[in-house]
Symmetry: D2
Subunit: 342 residues, 4 copies
Amino acid sequence: MRIGVLTSGGDCPGLNAVIRAVVRRCAADQVEVIGFHDAWRGVLERSWEMLTVDRCRGILPRGGTIIGTSRVSAAREPGGIDAARAVQAELGLDGFMVIGGDGSLAGALAMHEAGVATLGVPKTIDNDLAVTEMTFGFDTAVQIATDAIDRLHSTAEAHDRVMVVEVMGRHHGHIAARAGLAGGAAIVLLPEDPFDIDEVAATLTARHATGKWASIVVVAEGAVPRDNTVELPDRGTDRFGHQRMGGVGQVVADGLTERTGFETRLTVLGYVQRGGTPTSFDRVLATRYGVAAAQAAIDGGWGDMVALSADHITRVPMAGNVGRSRPVDGDLLATLRYFAAG
Amino acid sequence: MRIGVLTSGGDCPGLNAVIRAVVRRCAADQVEVIGFHDAWRGVLERSWEMLTVDRCRGILPRGGTIIGTSRVSAAREPGGIDAARAVQAELGLDGFMVIGGDGSLAGALAMHEAGVATLGVPKTIDNDLAVTEMTFGFDTAVQIATDAIDRLHSTAEAHDRVMVVEVMGRHHGHIAARAGLAGGAAIVLLPEDPFDIDEVAATLTARHATGKWASIVVVAEGAVPRDNTVELPDRGTDRFGHQRMGGVGQVVADGLTERTGFETRLTVLGYVQRGGTPTSFDRVLATRYGVAAAQAAIDGGWGDMVALSADHITRVPMAGNVGRSRPVDGDLLATLRYFAAG
Amino acid sequence: MRIGVLTSGGDCPGLNAVIRAVVRRCAADQVEVIGFHDAWRGVLERSWEMLTVDRCRGILPRGGTIIGTSRVSAAREPGGIDAARAVQAELGLDGFMVIGGDGSLAGALAMHEAGVATLGVPKTIDNDLAVTEMTFGFDTAVQIATDAIDRLHSTAEAHDRVMVVEVMGRHHGHIAARAGLAGGAAIVLLPEDPFDIDEVAATLTARHATGKWASIVVVAEGAVPRDNTVELPDRGTDRFGHQRMGGVGQVVADGLTERTGFETRLTVLGYVQRGGTPTSFDRVLATRYGVAAAQAAIDGGWGDMVALSADHITRVPMAGNVGRSRPVDGDLLATLRYFAAG
Amino acid sequence: MRIGVLTSGGDCPGLNAVIRAVVRRCAADQVEVIGFHDAWRGVLERSWEMLTVDRCRGILPRGGTIIGTSRVSAAREPGGIDAARAVQAELGLDGFMVIGGDGSLAGALAMHEAGVATLGVPKTIDNDLAVTEMTFGFDTAVQIATDAIDRLHSTAEAHDRVMVVEVMGRHHGHIAARAGLAGGAAIVLLPEDPFDIDEVAATLTARHATGKWASIVVVAEGAVPRDNTVELPDRGTDRFGHQRMGGVGQVVADGLTERTGFETRLTVLGYVQRGGTPTSFDRVLATRYGVAAAQAAIDGGWGDMVALSADHITRVPMAGNVGRSRPVDGDLLATLRYFAAG
């Protein structure tokens, strides 16, 4: 038996841990694993390598992915599905395991429905897939953002400043919510709860009046103002047609300076959040996903994906589960409010 | 309304985060919080302080507990329950919130059943309570152990050595299992799966024969040999009558040296695992527990405890839930085996 | 005997360690220490506190400064020197210890020459004072930047990208040079060596041609283009008349994208570099400075400052030593070139 | 031109950074570098590899050494010098660069004096070589020990305990002194200043009497009691005839428990201190050493070694400089005393 593996979409701490776990689990049953380079591009351009236990030695703690990644989708490329089918036949693959985000899994599902067997491992730094309680990489991103906020506190206090921190989170604010809670932010702005810059300024001003105005404001990159009280810059769309993010942190920082008169400084964490060694939590989660996904392949569970549910790894069909996102829930939003200002 | 709070048992990263969250949640409803010093000793010896929002400023990232801890149990002390009742009456407390491990929660339940209202927040670095999926402090301990293992890998490789690491885990091997997976250990020995030192030596020897013998062996302090193949030192009992732990790491290191001839080195992580700043995961979990426990107090849910279930904080009765432990499950044990040796 | 202490200018990891060491050394000789709030503002506005050993407990690992900081200068304020003299007389201070950067030390020297005894402890995150081999806070900033670069490597490799990192360093590139070396940057741009964006692009293109184009480019915020090959944004001046920094990272990222066609991403580390717990190196250096500065005060060495020379703390006059800056030396620039591209 | 490189003795963070820097500097002058495996064993057993820029990619942040290490000494092996000479001739090596501790450098000097050209790069985690202000790996070890002490503080405070931490330092207490200062230890015991356990106990008891007895006691593994007030265990000698270390931490912990009645806990950091990724400081220092050592080889400076002096890398003869150790100086010992107890 032989399977293909590919990593697709943005990189994410834990990808190598998944790959290693797939290879180790497969090795126990003499299943061969072929890794395709740069996601489906490696299939379309016939670039791959054999992934052995030796090849995967030492990669567990490393960020990135040893087989590269891209946003190329065989399902969307003209002739892509046939090309994949041909590679599958030629290499004698039972199917392709796709480690990717919601878009990549939608592509994997489309391939599967077109007769090219696939299997999904969910991946998003943003942790906003409804199908699973937790995605790997997310814990690492939250930890990195929290470490940065810890550091910003001392500058905020030394200078009586407002520090605005823009973190990742295009559609949902899971990173902002968790890092804000963990970092002791006074204010957390996130897509699930559109903000009113005047209200935020008033909260900080009230906080200042009681002498506690060294404040951290965490802003998800996808945070949006309520009723257009401030305007976000239009940064156009990228080559995939997605609205370009960025700039809301600056808008918030400028809006607060203007309304409160406090010294306000902006930090945009950016790519630092998604690189480097995964936390132990993410390494374990990624490893468990990898073992379970390999098991699924061995069991012939093509068309399925793995997920975390109540601390157990489960297997569910991609159909019906891909494409459903998960916002920050009301409980967590309510919790955040108890720590606002004060 | 006014409640008492105490932290009981071994210290654990996240205790301060719970305290702060309780105080913040209570403040929103004008509920006063009194912190008792060194667990029930503060009740018995009448040592306490008012915990205000200001008092709790800056404690979120700090290890330890600002109100101190001890193993003193009012339920076990002669006259302890009456003394607690008197303090409760005198201070006008609706009840006592006990942040503690299984023993402490059993005490809290006994108090509650004797008419002194209590509420539980589960706490154990070992993560072995059946009632909750995760306890705070555990993630931090696993991360610290994993960081240490990451460091030991390079020495193991530079010198072709076997590095044995003894981690916490008296009754169950959750820390060993997770840190072993996250750290890429060749072997993990834990109480749930008694070890045969000859088998372990044979595995390492086989691994050596293929040229890969820079090996990490993670040993839970409560790991036990199968069929008494090796003997653990008898370290007597502590003043609470518990069998003293420690020494199994040395026994394993010596046993492997003797049987394999490989250079073997022991590291005992000890107290480093339970101190210092909590991971962001633990800060968030502790904060959510604290908010939910304060809510329970406000709702009059005395006799209950909070727990984590499928990423939600739930509230369950202490009765029937305290005293049930949770071993490392079979799935995780099976997963560990795929990474043994190789 | 009694002395005043103040921290002046931008915050810097290690300020609290200096304060604590001054207080501990003074306590051994029964010298009292008064801390003025927010630098000279605390003198002018009569805001201070007694700094005891107890007050300084636990501050060693903390970033920021417990007595606050500002850029207020008594030497520059009209009537400032007389006001300081009056406070000195009223409190019976032998003199003021000023922990500050070059501008703050110039102010301290002016005060001293005007008859208000002062003593200097050099402080700059940028490590560009000629009088001392190393300033505290610098090692921490380099470590934080290096950690970030370590993380960016994995994204760079996973996506075959160029990652541009803008670090602090307004006038000199010590942080960029050290973090670039420590982080394995392909290119380091710094004020000491004006860059030609076409050359940088050519180097990256050549690197790409050999298949190694996941590249890190470290840019000091004060890096300048040679012969105006690209234009930096004019960000005006701040309220102290200093040219506002920022933007060169974006200019470099845009210039490289345009000239090479590679995907280029920018990270601006900003204030994260100067906050949070100091490295052990900075804690030791700051502690040694503090002990030596207190000793200088006890010895009556007013007008002096402390410095690091060949791993020893020395004492030199402020006069003649303040105001001399130290660029990155030629050896280190040469060393950087061996790691460029390749 | 072609040179050989080997790493000898205990591993040390920064070895790979030296190797990489040697290779990069040599590559710029088309000098070939051959790496011998496991120190002189690779010469004697003819095991080596070509070290190219590509081979050294990605090793900068890694602990350990890619070419392995051992304590095998060609100078001490019968026929070892002739064997090395034969390999040198056969491979056409200008000489051997030895990256090693004082013993290894003594061996290198002996080889050189016997006509086999060598060049030294000093290496010891203990930082006790008189010839250089700082050795790489030391800063990393101090940082790791400091991180551990930071964590132990919270347990010490939560439980009112004395935490004893045994750190490396067989002959000199540089790690203990620096980590003790950086970690805020109450007491530091080191070889340079034999301790009296009764005095230490009295200091802690006095500290306790003022209410501040959550104390950290740092003990260098080579600390010795004064006048045999307590007895250290005799652990015999290792196969090189060195007295085996270890046990003094336990002796101190037991001695303090007995004399003070305080709860005392021991942590032995062990090998964790010398593994894993180097700090940015050590990466830069190791890189500068490597570049300078390669330059020395290119210049024909055989018989020399590199050293750090006043933040510059210098080149000095091995003869007369090898074999001189450097104790913790009096200033630092005096500084430590200001932080004792209190």
